[in-house]
Amino acid sequence: MDAEISLRVDGESHRLTVDTRTTLLDALRERLGNTSPKKGCDHGQCGACTVLLDGQRSLICLALAVAHDGAEITTADGLAPAGELHPVQQAFLEQDAFQCGYCTPGQVCSAVGVLDEVARGWPSHVTEDLTGDVELSDAEVSERMSGNLCRCAAYENITPAVQQAGAR
């Protein structure tokens, strides 16, 4: 069954027809040709499809497109204009926080979300004092970035990259 929806992706508006079964991830990758968010598991188990969905980091492999009519999506490719890089992307480059690059756009979007969540004072599993302020320690970054699997295992570099971007 088909449905017509509109999406705003990386600042551009689209009107498109999707199957009710189509996920936002497949809508982007297979309908709109935006392959910045990746499909690693298709079940919310790896984080490669992380984008900012209406401002919050989300896994769009688990989001039905039809249920997000009118949504605003920012992928890693939409974080900075062509030829420029977002501070998180620049930090990933400098820290060599990736190898194969497949999980990277999801890591980058997740990191942008993490920095925003920390700025809003959201606690995490490793926050010692739930009633206090949140400090961006390495343990906080690692815990918060744990929804993004990296099989090349660049974690040791991802954490400082997020710290570097967060310090700006």
């Binding site: 069954m1 449905a3 199957d19 009710t20 079964r21 996920t23 298709d42 079940h43 919310g44 984080g47 992380t50 919050q56 980091r57 989300s58 896994l59 492999c61 688990l62 989001a63 039905l64 039809v66 249920a67 997740s110 979300g113 993490v114 969540e117 809003r120 004072g121 959201w122 606690p123 995490s124 599993h125 926050t127 739930l130 009633t131 690692s142 815990e143 918060r144 744990s146 929804g147 993004n148």
Partner: protein
């Protein structure tokens, strides 16, 4: 994935009517469990009714001093709420121990407790499963039982061919905390509203593994209420898992200590969040020494049934549950005396 119709009604009443009218209809909220199951062919609805934007997304104060969590509030928002963090740390900790930042931004208060078991055989439509396909048998018995139940199951190796056999666990961390907090579930259904004590929301397997909860078809959770806690109450959630993050519980413990009263709920060990009522009774009014807690947990776990299976079985959960409760209560009481 089977095709389905999608509806996004104007309000909750209409949503309830839509689902009630169609026997094979389901509600959709955050989608983190349902969409997963649609893809795997575990959920095969004809109609999906989207309620994500219909119920309240607010956390509000109740007149009795408790808190009301709107069904559409996300796990992230509830965990970040100052009132939850200060008054119900066990809930904030349970939420933050669950899933990942991205998933918590999507998953909702109403949806999280209704997520279904992560038993690998339930998740694989090529294997028999009484929960997924009533009467087909239970593949989990003697199989991969590491994340499966030891409490509320009839034997160490129940009959895998019997239609009532199921050794699934409930995977939600949030639900374990809500069980310990004696939360109240506000429900709207075709027959109107009702309140379900959280402990009665989930079922043990009984003779029907396919049904996880006591909700009727068409009933929608509209909010979950947290009752007020006595002054000086301390609570915490301890999750033991195979990875440091992003893993289901092997065993988890929600503990709430108010004066002489101690409430203990266990996750990862049963078909529902398991209130350790026997241990609670034994500990009421007694000093929570390691020795006393250990003895109380031994009594609680006396009926536990280790499930052997490939990869070593799950008998370790029995000592692990006891040890984790001891450690959790030790930390709670040492905090109090600090």
């Amino acid at each position: 994935m089977k095709p389905f119709a999608y509806a996004h009604p104007g309000d909750v009443a209409e949503a309830v009517r839509d689902v009630a009218a169609e026997p094979n209809a389901v509600f959709l909220a955050g989608g983190t469990n349902l969409v997963d199951h649609l893809k795997l062919g575990i959920a095969t609805p004809d109609l999906v009714v989207d309620v994500r934007t219909l119920t309240s997304r607010e956390v509000t104060d109740l007149p009795d001093g408790g808190l009301r969590l709107g069904a559409a509030s996300t796990n992230s928002e509830v965990a970040a709420d100052r009132r939850v963090r200060e008054r119900y740390p066990v809930l904030a900790q349970a939420l933050l121990a669950g899933a990942t930042g991205q998933l918590r931004n999507m998953a909702t208060t109403g949806g999280n407790p209704l997520q279904r078991t992560r038993c690998v055989y339930f998740g694989d439509v090529t294997t028999p499963c009484n929960k997924r396909e009533p009467g087909s048998g239970c593949s989990a018995v003697g199989g991969y039982t590491r994340y499966l139940a030891v409490l509320g199951v009839p034997a160490a190796l129940p009959d895998p061919t019997a239609p009532e056999t199921c050794i699934a666990t409930h995977p939600s961390d949030m639900a374990v905390a809500l069980a310990a907090l004696d939360a109240q579930v506000q429900v709207l259904g075709p027959a109107g509203t009702r309140t379900i004590p959280f402990g009665e929301l989930h079922r043990l397997v009984g003779d029907d593994p396919s049904t996880d909860t006591t909700l009727e078809h068409g009933e929608l959770i509209t909010s979950i209420d947290l009752p007020p806690l006595p002054a000086g109450t301390r609570s915490s959630y301890r999750k033991v898992r195979d990875r440091a993050s992003y893993a289901y519980a092997l065993v988890s413990v929600a503990a709430v200590v108010s004066g002489d009263d101690v409430r203990i709920a266990l996750g990862g060990v049963a078909h529902k969040p398991w209130r350790a009522t026997r241990a609670e009774e034994l500990l009421r009014g007694r000093p929570l020494t390691d020795h006393a807690v250990r003895a109380a947990m031994d009594a609680e776990l006396a009926g536990a049934q280790p499930q052997p299976g490939v990869g070593g079985g799950n008998g370790f959960k029995i000592p692990l549950a006891a040890r984790t409760v001891v450690a959790t209560l030790r930390e709670l009481t040492s905090e109090a005396t600090r």
